[in-house]
């Protein structure tokens, strides 16, 4: 009974490529998030979607685009990958307004060579 799942778990690709990471949650939450965790383990919010509307967009490059086909899915598409994009990307979900507890997926380790 995986609550928040991500695919793939590992992604190795070359600079300049375009890639997507998928996220699905079965918790019935209405808000989903993408975080980036760097090599120093610092977790930083990238995006969140509430009822398919973007409600946070931190200062990330526009090469990153979140796409949510429905409230159970939030995919992350990255264009023209750069070396600095190498990190672990975590998806999370919560129920907006009820409590702040965000539940995280297992992460996708992206390596750009």
């Amino acid at each position: 009974d995986t609550a928040v799942s991500q695919t793939p778990k590992y992604l190795v690709t070359q600079m300049g490529n375009d890639k997507s990471i998928k996220c699905e949650q079965n918790l019935g939450h209405d808000t989903m998030y993408w975080y980036k965790q760097d090599s120093k383990k610092f977790l930083k919010i990238m995006f969140s979607y509430n009822n398919k509307e973007l409600i946070i967009n931190e200062t990330v490059p526009n090469r990153f685009s979140p796409k949510s086909p429905d409230k159970a899915h939030l995919n992350l598409h990255i264009n023209s990958l750069e070396l600095g994009d190498s990190a672990v990307y975590f998806c999370a979900s919560s129920q907006y307004g009820r409590d702040s507890v965000q539940y995280f997926g297992p992460g996708t380790r992206l390596t750009v060579t």
Binding site: V4, T31, Y33, K40, K41, F42, L43, K44, I45, S48, N50, I55, I56, F90, S94, Y96, G97, D99, S100, V101, Q102, Y103, F104, G105, P106, G107
Partner: protein
């Protein structure tokens, strides 16, 4: 700008020891503070604190918040090797629904 500072950055203890992890914060319109444990993969939720002085407890772990002094502590008693992890503190602002994380404390428990 919102800020969350955790200390120490890393800590090595022996099994059975008691540890205290610290988290201080500066955030506009504070709503809640959360503690997560991160082992090899996803951060897992430990506690959410919204009121000062009310201890939250789960087994050997406990946490308390001081909204006047803007800090929280996470205590772990009788540590075990399974407690080895990075412990993350995060704060949320009212209306933002966005967690701002600290850099974490890496705890290593030696048998």
């Amino acid at each position: 700008e919102d800020k969350v500072v955790q200390s120490p950055l890393s800590l090595v203890v022996h099994e059975g020891d008691t540890v205290t992890l610290n988290c201080s914060y500066e955030v506009t319109n504070f709503r809640s503070l959360l503690w997560y444990k991160q082992e090899k993969k996803a951060p897992t939720f430990l506690f959410m604190l919204t009121s000062s002085g009310i201890e939250k407890k789960s087994g050997r772990l406990s946490s308390i918040l001081d909204k006047k002094e803007l800090f929280s502590i996470l205590n772990i008693t009788a540590t075990q090797t399974g407690d080895s992890a990075v412990y993350l503190c995060a704060v949320e602002s009212t209306g933002a629904n966005n967690l701002f994380f600290g850099t974490g404390t890496r705890l290593t428990v030696i048998p």
